[in-house]
């Protein structure tokens, strides 16, 4: 799994590529925590390159939602592959955070 971090429109965008599984989920959590500790309250996870997410990965997404629930905080996912989208939808996660088709739509819509 590879994570690249960028800043756009006052948001931190973490673009993730590869599998989010038992071995890699902690690295994702670390990268998100680092961004939050750096002061950002607007996080967009671009999952365009994510091919698989395990239950450990789902837990990281929920843990992030818990950290970004103050008024004004923003947290969303975008560009999900169909398989990953299906897992999030059927697990009920789409009611916790928004999922957008693209980065642009996320930044314009949240």
């Amino acid at each position: 799994m590879e994570i690249t971090t960028a800043t756009r429109d006052d948001a931190t965008i973490l673009s993730v590529a590869g599998r989010i599984d038992t071995a890699t989920a902690p690295a994702l959590e670390l990268a998100i925590n680092k961004a939050i500790e750096g002061g950002t309250r607007r996080i967009l996870l671009n999952f365009a390159g994510v091919t698989y997410i395990s239950s450990g990965g789902l837990r990281v997404l929920l843990a992030t939602a818990k950290k970004l629930k103050n008024p004004g905080d923003k947290y969303a996912l975008c560009s999900l592959a169909a398989e990953v989208n299906k897992i999030l939808k059927l697990a009920g996660f789409t009611t916790i955070f928004s999922i957008y088709p693209s980065e642009g739509e996320a930044l314009a819509g949240w």
Partner: protein
Amino acid sequence: MPGGNASLVSLSWQPVPGAPGARIYPLIRKLDTTSSNAYLIQTDDVILLIDPGGLAEQAAQLALVIEECRREHDRPVFVFLTHAHIDHFLGTQCTPAFAHSKAAVFAVQETGAAALECGDGKLTQADLLGQIISPFRIGLPLLTDGRIDSCGVPVSRTFSNGATVSIIRKPAATGLAREQIRFGSGPALDVYHTPGHSPDSICIQMGGLLFIGDVLFAANPGIAGICGWDQSALIRSLDGIEALFADGGIVFVLPGHGRVIAAADAGLMFAAIRADTLALENIVELNRERAIETAAFAEDCMEQVNELFTIMAGRLYYVSYVLEELGEEDVAAEVSRLIKGDAIDELLEAFRSFADEHHKGSGVSIHLALKAGQVITKLQRSFEGAELAHIIDPALVQRAARLLSDYTTMLRGFCPPRELEECDLVRHLEALVTGLSVPACSDDDLLSSEDDDSTFTRLLLRRIGMQPLLSEVAFSFSAGEKHLVAPVDHDDLTDLVTYILEDLVGIGAAAIALQIARDGNRAIITLTGTGCTDSDFPKPKGGFLGRLCDRAGGTLSCAVDGKTREYTISLDGLI
């Protein structure tokens, strides 16, 4: 001396209990299917090696120990096989110390001896495990028909390694054919014919040690049914072994794979194997073709299991998250414990890594099938199905449980159950989709339970955990006739339609239509998802869903056109 609760120590010489002058050097391996344990015994007269194993490096290691023994005191070497499966001997084929008959004489029950002398790939399981064996000479065929007539009369034989042994056929007091072999004045070796796992299986006794080969695993999924396996012979052999224990004197049981077992613990194990064996009536033969089919089914199942377990764990995390938001941290923690998410992730990851290696070309199908069986057994222990079904969609939990059970059934040598019964498709599917459209717990139910804490908590959990699959999609149901009755497997059809609806919801269909119509004597069920948001459609799981539809009693096709995906289930025999 080992005794009582003590056990034998691997890679160390120690006395053989009940056999003065004999010492044993066990090589106990971590349980696997590549190579058996090996047991070296030395007396003043002979060096005996029981089951050298399947790996050349193990055989070479044993050859070094034998060489050291012979340097101290040169004696003839005999190699006994508890049966002629390759994991018990293949390592010797490229180890010079065992390669010619003057170095070591092999002793195998006569059916196994014949198989080894002609290089039989089936009985030795070489074909199943993708190996090639070279035929080799068996100097001492055991329990031969030719010696039946001389029961009670010692027969003396001299061998190419210089040894002279005395063999005496004994009456089968325990129901097991028996021969006693003496290599001089030292302790004798008793050999019992215990077919079932294979036709040539034997148990070997010296003093208080009973070497049992693979009888412990003979009823295991993925082992029962291999070429030469025989249910009734196995039961007779188990009865005979039980009688051997009743005679007393056995201290340790030394299996072909895994740890040494104290005789006191072995009785219950044999009783369990007997019960398992009795349940294996009419299983199919586990040959190479069946192994390939089972491995393909394993991969399909594991892909689906992966998705279902991730969704189930995700649902539970979601419930836990909402409960924490509501200030119910204790209940949230309790809910999280119902599924061991990390353990499940690790198991699924282990299978994936194994399958990746398999596809790189080095693996054989039976190993992949067995690995899936091992993972599935552990998965079955990783979630509290009954408890979970009170919180998340029970259909999700039941489907996961059925998948695991279907695979185990297949691996055991049966076909997953398929019970075709007449079913009113219209009523059945209407009830199914209604259940997928309305909340499991209504607002009124929840509000009326607020005086009773435990009922309120239970209903609240259901309300949070069970989100109707079709609640956020424009869904329509139509049937050409009021009743359409066809023979189907009720559970499989339910699972199939649910998987398809999940697939359509998952790929973001804005609208889903389910239609049932008559086409001659066939019922046609069409599930159409339109306005799907994902232009990058994942490939429909034709293999898994196709097989499931076959078990449900029909055939399945899938067509994709732009943002529309359509599944068609065709069921023959409309009444």
